[in-house]
Symmetry: C2
Subunit: 424 residues, 2 copies
């Protein structure tokens, strides 16, 4: 039994720390073989995994957790195959460990290189989706990190089954025991215990909503990278190609409204409001989008327009995560930038413009992980950016900003080689 | 009056945040002019600064803070000139802001660049040395960050005078007001207030001892980079050039014993203990170094040797910061690595060896900011590494590891340019 309920959180983390020392030096071929073995085991042992998932589903139905949560919780043959396929894709990504970031020779002859190395032990805490168990585990393994997983109690059987299958496959393929640990209890007590393992955990990545974030903030002494909310804007400049602006606004709002890189607010320069807003409002209405507009937007909508409501200040700060869009008419580029500085969450911000100087001003002034010129905010994603996969999106400024991929799960060390140099 | 005692900590930080937006876009030439103006003002206003310092010195003597602290507190014409000279050196360093870290074109034609940008507002908290006021301020300004300083109350007059001179010079040279703030009170209350300004402070860097670190750990919600202690080792391998090993050990221990990159422990392979230890002990004795040795070291020292005491386990974990060296004889490279994994603080670790495979094993297995092969640990320093200057040395793994220079005071953003791309 790889996953034992009798293990304390401290035991799991200590085992992960011990394993991390070996894993950090395990070569890419061995790690990739382990990932292939995990993918194969997920397919081979699908019946056991689906049976465990059915126990969680049954409990979920009994507890009436709702259709949305049940859907996030549910595994089936197709979803399991998608998870296994994703594991094989991670195996094909380049290994970040050992990459020489930069290097040079000092005046005294010392050769200094910065070499990428794993962080050590990465803990991932997450909510109901069982697929995160495997996604997080394989990103950590590929980047040479031991991994400690803590899912929610509503998915405990699924997570334990998945982690157990993956851990057996990994050790069977030659990875050291303890590489993949799971914290069995899903309660606040286990979360607090995990978040204070400073000696044995190098980083915690929460994947979940504000509740999880707040629960961590109050207790964590281990460094945390929050994949915070995305209150993203599209700004339609006076010089914008209005057809392009419409396509980008629609894409940013409606292509997948429930994710953090979807647009929540649209800012329109006053000079093009009359030309742009009627077409925008019609298209959004057709796409089923509720508009929360300022006075100028309401005026453009006219009396009879359905699906347009008056916005108040709270709208500017709201991450709707559904088919709702706040719309405000601004007097200038500067006002748009100021609005974004005030209400944005530093995730993804877009300008649509023909004006090179406006594009440059916006790019420089907006303080966000990703700033777009004439493109949709929806591209903020490790896969889209060519990083292959991501474990989340960081809106903080230290270490990782934007998509957290394999490189962002690493640190570096300075390797300094000499022939007897001493400091004078 | 640039520095006002009536400003609350929150006011100082809010002003810094506002200033940071302008400063982030201020060009290098303007920033360098401001640094030159600061250097000139430090020279011009030396009498006022030295008078303020004399008030702190007088209070220090009355409070009997001791000669060591008084020396750290003391400014004179020569020290002030050294501070001004250091400002001019920072002005000559390359500006990290705007550096393109990497970039590529995606399959859909989007151009993605990672561009270095300032963090925003950096707070530096420090103990008695008034020179840190200027060192920290100019590193922050050069890297485009607004800066909030909080020194200790024992240096309050000196720090306020220095910050006031620097802030006036900076605004006189065209930098925006609020760029350089100082928290007037040196108490725990002000520290706690500063450490919880999440909205307006992006990073806190403490420069001080364990007391300051612990005071921050318990209250900080702002990200902190701890410049933690350095329990650094020199390991003399079986194949080492013993003359080189002696030179490196002496340099690492005695060249400047009070700093974090000085060696605290020496590990010697059993195969060379008999050949190496007598010469080492004699040289260390001559240099005034007290040895805390294991049994094998004591045996090598012989009965009559002065300056050699029996070590216990606490010695392996102690950062002496003085002329004391723990010495242990190990059976193998592996035991040396294990010792360092157990007791090291992840700062700077050195191996002296002729054996390429031993060098490789040590470099890979030792988890530290800087790993040295055949060189002294004393080189871990922003200046030595060619970074021009540093604000401290990080032993943590996220964001900055090793010397914290101008680049480490920055984050980056993704700039993405397209011609209407939307996600499908």
């Amino acid at each position: 039994m790889v996953v034992s309920e009798s293990q304390s959180v401290a035991d799991v983390c200590a085992a992960a720390r011990a394993a991390s020392r070996t894993l950090a030096q395990t070569d890419t071929a061995t790690k990739d073989r382990a990932l292939a073995a995990i993918a194969a085991a997920l397919r081979d042992q699908a019946p056991e995994i689906l049976a465990a998932n059915e126990r969680d589903m049954q409990a979920g139905r009994e507890n009436a957790i709702g259709d949305a949560l049940l859907d996030r919780l549910r595994l089936d043959a197709q979803r399991l195959e998608a998870i296994a396929g994703a594991v094989e894709q991670v195996a094909q990504l380049p290994d970040p460990v050992g990459e020489v970031i930069d290097g040079h020779r000092l005046a005294n002859g010392l050769d200094v290189r910065r070499v990428r190395v794993p962080l050590g032990v990465v803990a991932v805490v997450y909510e109901a989706r069982p697929n995160v168990t495997i996604d997080a585990a394989v990103l950590c393994l590929k980047s040479g990190n031991a991994c400690v997983l803590r899912g929610s109690s509503s998915a405990a059987h699924s997570n334990t089954a998945l982690a157990d299958v993956a851990a057996r496959a990994a050790t069977g393929a030659g990875l050291v025991d303890g590489t993949l640990g799971i914290v069995a209890g899903g309660g606040r007590e286990e979360l607090a215990a995990l978040a204070t393992q400073r000696e044995n955990v190098d980083l915690i990545i929460p994947r979940g909503g504000e509740g999880l974030k707040q629960a961590l903030e109050s207790v964590a002494t281990v460094p945390v990278i929050y994949a915070a909310s995305g209150n993203c804007h599209v700004y339609v400049d006076a010089s914008a190609d209005l057809e392009m602006a419409l396509a980008i606004a629609l894409n940013a709002k409606t292509q997948r409204p429930g994710v953090c890189n979807a647009a929540e607010s649209l800012l329109v320069h006053r000079d093009v409001a009359a030309a742009f807003l009627p077409a925008l409002l019609a298209a959004m209405d057709e796409a089923g989008v509720l508009i929360r507009g300022d006075a100028a937007t309401l005026a453009a909508a006219g009396d009879e327009r359905a699906g347009v409501q008056a916005a108040d200040e709270r709208d500017w700060a709201t991450e709707y995560l559904d088919l709702t869009l706040a719309v405000r008419v601004v007097d200038s580029l500067e006002q748009a930038i100021e609005h974004i500085q005030t209400y944005g969450s530093g995730h993804s911000e877009a300008i649509v413009t023909h004006d090179a100087l406006a594009a440059r001003s916006f790019s420089r002034a907006v303080d966000a992980a990703c700033v777009y010129v004439n493109a949709s905010t929806r591209f903020t994603d490790g896969g889209e950016f060519g990083m292959g996969a991501e474990i989340g999106n960081s809106t903080q400024k230290l270490h990782a900003r934007g998509p957290i991929g394999l490189r962002e799960l690493c640190t570096f060390k300075y390797l300094v080689e000499g022939d007897g140099q001493v400091r004078t």
